[in-house]
């Protein structure tokens, strides 16, 4: 079964080829949808089979490398196409293909009637192909192939409706922004890869990590590698300072936001850090940087989410914030908790996005939550599933978000200190608040839409069934990671499962002092109470006393405007980086270097030759006898020359 791992990568590629090449000919949406979803569905089944096969083996033997063929061989550089099957990669593969399959099915309903239906499914399958490469790769170069591949698909899908307006520009501009920002990160990733090759003479995970474990390499080298890889991760996973593309990525169709910009692609950075955990564990300074960046991103994005009015924007900032949590987990050495949060977040955030898509679908493409209200009686399934997702992300037990988030908060307290926990808990509170603001404004209260023209309706079954599936996963997904204080020693399933992968890294990390169970339960209770309080407060403010929200925004107009305009970061980037680059490109590179120097050189050469030729061409008179004179002269000169040299 494990040898079949290549099929999980190949099938989506075949689906992409069929839909991409024959899509316009097939036309039938059902056929295209079944091919697209089927490819991912079968991949999921194969991954599931491999998962159970791994489960049947002893923990120490759950590591396989399936080598397919030689890809690049230059001198000592040897890059195979090889897929690595271990607890981490198979868990990610299950999440990607599983959530991916559900979202594919949902898209059949959501994209119904779109003229680019086939194109959409082709791109989605290509995305799954690239993502599977990223996850399963057994070397950095193949990982990078997937890394770039998902970036490309992200670009294609953000700009999917390339002829539509998005905010002040077009979706194509949003796509370009995402691509360029990602490129900055990828540059860092490449540099990291180069340093790895210089240091270890190999790019294969196994060989590199084995050398790391042997030791003998200065910490400064590890710091460099970890830092540059992390720059790559900040680009792909939308962390400060490169998070700006993700909110704009909402220009794409909602299933894309759910799959790529919430559940899978944006967690690639977290996955990469987890995969290279040994390197990070050898660079404690950079671990701290990761933790701080993650924490800042978490609270920063959550605060922006408080006041946004676009349903997808709120979810987008929420995603950035949750990704911050994951990096916080990575930074404090809680790799398992981070990956656990990747998984639960994939469930509930995909659910929230798909439910938001269902709402947008039912409200005739309206995305402003101020124009919703009271939708629960029109779309009961969407209402219930969205509520499930909102509770899960707020961290209310026993929903999945509680377990993963609390694990992260606990480790930030235990490994990094009280300040980390406090900021994390405040973020959790903000999260609960903006989620229930969103929920209350959308589903409860009075309808604020135009009742004569807008008739909200529930979405078709093909869309609601995926919602229900994800809702169930959001509820029960956390039970695989019940903290050991409740489940007893060795009771945390996901920890046991991932332990072999993170063992080398954990053994390198400094041991922290033991903490009592009382502390853990106390902190847990505080964060749950804070989240519950925030939920109650949000419902109170937005359902009963709307005047409080209004007076608050009037009382602190500066703060409100700052949050509403997203701390003016986009504008600052525009002023500080983009417009100088545009100015230099326009004034210096284009109008001076290109026009004056390059074009000038070429044109000057041509005109010089022309003026010279216009003089000497007069010699060509057209009179044959003149040529004869020249010939005779030539012969005479040649004659005398020969005579003289004799």
């Amino acid at each position: 079964m494990i040898d079949l791992i290549y099929l999980t990568v190949l099938l989506p590629l075949i689906g992409f080829a069929i839909n991409g090449l024959l899509g316009p000919k097939i036309k039938n949406e059902k056929v295209i949808g079944v091919i697209g979803s089927g490819a991912v569905g079968i991949s999921f089944l194969i991954s599931l089979g491999i998962f159970f096969e791994l489960l049947g083996k002893p923990a120490a033997e759950r590591h396989f490398i399936v080598n397919l063929f030689q890809w690049i061989k230059v001198d000592y550089l040897n890059i195979p196409i090889g897929y690595q099957v271990d607890p981490l990669s198979i868990l990610m593969a299950l999440v990607v293909t599983g959530v991916g399959f559900v979202i594919h099915v949902y898209s059949i309903g959501y994209m119904h009637g779109d003229k680019g239906f086939w194109r959409f499914f082709a791109y989605l399958n290509l995305f799954i192909f690239a993502m599977m490469n990223l996850i399963l790769a057994d070397n950095f170069v193949l990982l990078f192939l997937g890394w770039e591949g998902v970036g490309l698909c992200s670009y294609l899908l953000i700009g999917f409706w390339y002829d539509r307006k998005f905010e002040n520009s077009t979706t194509a501009d949003a796509a370009k922004k995402a691509f360029v920002v990602n490129r900055i990160g990828d540059f860092g990733f490449l540099i990291g890869m180069f340093i790895i090759y210089l240091t270890f003479n190999s790019l294969r995970f196994e060989e590199v990590f084995a050398q790391v474990k042997l030791g003998g390499i200065p910490e400064s080298t590890f710091n460099m590698i970890a830092l540059f890889l992390f720059i790559g991760a900040t680009g792909k996973s939308a962390q400060i300072p490169l998070y700006v593309w993700l909110p704009d990525a909402m220009a794409g169709p909602t299933p894309v936001s759910a799959l790529i910009h919430a559940a899978t692609m944006v967690t690639a950075g977290v996955y990469m850090v987890a995969r290279t955990s040994v390197i990070y564990a050898s660079a404690p300074t950079i671990m701290m940087v990761v933790a701080v960046v993650g924490l800042l991103t978490a609270i920063f994005a959550a605060s922006i989410g408080l006041v946004q009015n676009d349903i997808k924007k709120v979810l987008a900032y929420s995603t950035v914030s949750q990704l911050g949590y994951m990096f916080l987990a990575m930074g404090v050495g809680a790799f398992t908790a981070g990956i656990f949060h990747v998984m639960t977040h994939a469930f509930f955030k995909a659910l929230l996005f798909l439910a938001a898509g269902s709402v947008i679908h039912g409200m005739h493409e309206e995305q402003n939550i101020q124009k919703y209200g009271g939708l629960k009686k029109y779309m009961p399934v969407t209402y219930l599933t969205f509520l499930t997702g909102a509770i899960a992300i707020s961290g209310i037990p026993p929903f999945s978000g509680f377990f993963s988030k609390d694990e992260i908060l606990w480790y930030s307290y235990a490994n990094a200190g009280f300040a980390f926990w406090l900021v994390g808990a405040i973020t959790a509170m903000l999260t609960a608040f903006y989620m229930f603001r969103l929920y209350s404004l959308t589903f409860e209260g009075e309808g604020r839409f135009d009742h004569h023209h807008v008739h909200p309706h529930e979405s078709p079954k093909v869309m609601t069934v995926p919602l229900i599936v994800l809702a169930i996963l959001s509820v029960i997904g956390g039970f695989i990671g019940i903290p050991e204080i409740f489940s007893g020693s060795g009771g945390n399933q996901i920890k046991n499962w991932l332990d072999p992968v993170f063992k080398p890294a954990n053994s390198l990390l400094a041991k922290h002092g033991a903490h009592s169970h009382f502390e853990e339960i106390l902190l847990m209770a505080v964060s749950v109470a804070a989240a519950a309080g925030a939920i109650y407060f949000a419902r109170f403010v937005y359902l009963k006393r709307k005047d409080i929200a209004e007076s608050a925004s009037l009382k602190f107009p500066g703060l409100y405007r700052l949050l509403f305009n997203k701390y003016l970061i986009d504008e600052a980037y525009d002023k500080a980086i983009i417009s100088p680059i545009v100015k230099v490109s326009d004034g210096f590179l284009w109008k001076f270097t290109d026009v004056k120097i390059i074009d000038g050189l070429v044109n000057k050469t041509a005109s010089l030759i022309e003026s010279f030729a216009s003089q000497i061409r007069k010699m060509q008179t057209g009179v044959a006898q003149f040529y004869a004179v020249i010939m005779v002269l030539g012969i005479v000169i040649a004659f005398f020359w020969i005579m003289a040299s004799l």
Binding site: R617, K618, T621, G622, V623, A624, Q625, V632
Partner: protein, 100 residues
């Protein structure tokens, strides 16, 4: 026996006459005749040395030259007639459109 220099002087005189004729005369027919004169001066040198050295190869080459000259004369005259039909002149100064 006439010394070889006499033949060579005569031949050189004929050749230079031909060159001057080609360069200075306007009429295409006369230029043509001057070219024939140059060819024949070369023939004369061939024959001279053939006889002087007792080697028949020179005379053989002369036959070739005469055959080629005849062919060339036929083609050349045909061209001159064609030009005359078009431009009503055989004056070389006026046939000068092939230029910059």
């Amino acid at each position: 026996m006439i010394p070889i220099e006499h033949y060579l002087f005569l031949s050189s005189f004929m050749f230079v006459t031909g060159v001057v004729g080609v360069i200075t005369r306007r009429n295409a027919i006369v230029v043509f005749m001057s070219i024939e004169l140059m060819l024949n001066s070369a023939n004369l040198v061939f024959v001279t040395f053939s006889s002087y050295l007792g080697n028949v190869t020179g005379q053989l080459v002369v036959f070739f030259v005469m055959a080629v000259a005849a062919a060339e004369a036929a083609v050349g005259l045909a061209i001159i007639i064609a030009i005359f039909r078009n431009k009503l002149t055989v004056n070389l100064d006026e046939i000068n459109i092939l230029k910059w």
